[in-house]
Point group: C2
Chain length 254, copies 2
DNA sequence: AAGTGGTCTAGACCACTAT
DNA sequence: TAGTGGTCTAGACCACTTT
């Protein structure tokens, strides 16, 4: 282990501007992050204690705590009760991928209904939707177009609810579209999405008008209603060369 | 637009347990989330005002604000100054994919060095690493093994720094491994990672011992040091059927 | 004018860690 | 015992929206 001084003096120039529109807690968080970005505070280093920060920057303890909580939430420091607060090394446990491009793909998409029929649930579907095998489900196949190009091929199994007849318009709206539009009329409470990398099979390649073999992203989705019952299970498949997911790791400055 | 009552009475049964180990702010946040999960509070509904929550649950304004900030950060409610706080509809703008499995793959991996040599940067490499074309870089090809199976094929271009000779041990440690291990000796400050879905080419399939065609995940990475200079650019390629990324959308309860 | 969220104060008490 | 972070109070003042 390399020995480093336990505590470093931050640049005295930085201070809180009380006339700024930026709140004091945000300013202090930025000052601390800036110190890390400049290498004044390195991974493993201890941050000044709360009491020190209170004195140095002339803010109340609650404000200091809020600043530090922000850094903790961002995962750039770790606070240990009774020991101190330390700069975390860059590590990647989870990555937030921004699906902005995906949002665009769904946003302007038009929906072509390929097929919609009532089918009996086989073992696999029954298990996913938590219903009995043989119960009726609605099977829907759709093609989502974007800029006159086929963007996604979507297959979905919906719980068939005899008390709520299917409006034709509904067939043109997908669960995932609702997610992206943020419709407040959604019946969905939550869902799980899996991203997989697959090859297009013959049918998929044909519908999406791609040569074969072609790499693709597959988004498997399972959505639940407010009673925690599964509502739909399906997959969106789109050619990989139209999508990319990006994430940043480590320290981020504004 | 459907009209809903602007404000609902929450279940009076729920209250803060001052003897609990769970802090009051977390308890209150959970009570509110529970109300959403049960459908008492639906997307678009207004939450009780801070003053109301202060009275009803007998906590201070700061504690109420902290609870609500948690929900805001989680993206399940939106607070609008002067108007109120409202339940957000389920929407997916970004998705956090948990790379736990990936972590396992890297964690126990052994590294087989295939090639390491100094090469002049071509236009593409020079652009990515922000150096002049023709400058020397270290090109490394590695195979990462996991459980006696080839897991990832890694190619990487490193900035060649004549003042810092390459230790042989370094060649067996990758930037991404550092990320996963959370080594505090990392020189890395931050980086960008792209996830792509691709097909394995002949060389890749051969090294990874897969049939062809085979779908694969490709992680392109670009890492920077504390001076914001690029350090390395490369790709990890692994067969798709060994990885899966999952995310949850909407309301999450503990 | 009344009600809402946004920020902030100046402490308090507690649990935990190190010496 | 001293120092650290974790929680919480009981207000204050401000900016903003609605009526």
């Amino acid at each position: 282990m390399t020995q480093r001084p336990k505590n470093k003096v931050l640049q005295e120039t930085a201070s809180i501007d009380r006339d700024s529109f930026e709140p004091a807690y945000a300013q202090l968080a930025n000052i601390l992050r800036q110190s890390m970005a400049e290498g004044l505070l390195r991974p493993g280093d201890q941050l000044p204690s709360e009491a020190q920060l209170v004195k140095r920057y002339g803010v109340s303890p609650m404000t200091v705590r809020r600043s530090i909580n922000i850094l903790v939430d961002q995962g750039v420091v770790i606070a240990e009760q009774g020991r101190g607060t330390f700069v975390k090394p860059v590590a990647m446990k989870a990555a937030t991928f921004h699906l902005g491009q995906l949002e665009n793909l769904f946003g302007g998409a038009t929906v072509q209904l390929l097929e919609a029929r009532i089918v009996a649930a086989d073992e696999r579907v029954a298990r996913k939707l938590a219903i009995k095998e043989g119960k009726r489900t609605i099977y829907i196949r759709r093609l989502l177009w974007n800029n006159d190009e086929p963007a996604f091929y979507h297959r979905e199994y919906l719980i068939y609810d005899p008390t709520r007849p299917i409006v034709e318009a509904e067939l043109e709206v997908t669960a995932l579209q609702q997610l992206f539009s943020g419709s407040s009329e959604s019946l969905l409470k939550h869902g799980e999405i899996n991203i997989e990398s697959t090859l297009l099979d013959e049918e998929e390649a044909c519908l999406l008008k791609t040569p074969q073999p072609m790499a693709a992203f597959c988004f498997e989705h399972l959505f639940y209603d407010f009673d925690n019952h599964p509502v739909s299970w399906g997959w969106f498949i789109g050619r990989a060369d139209r999508m990319r997911f990006t994430t940043q790791v480590g320290l981020l400055l504004d």
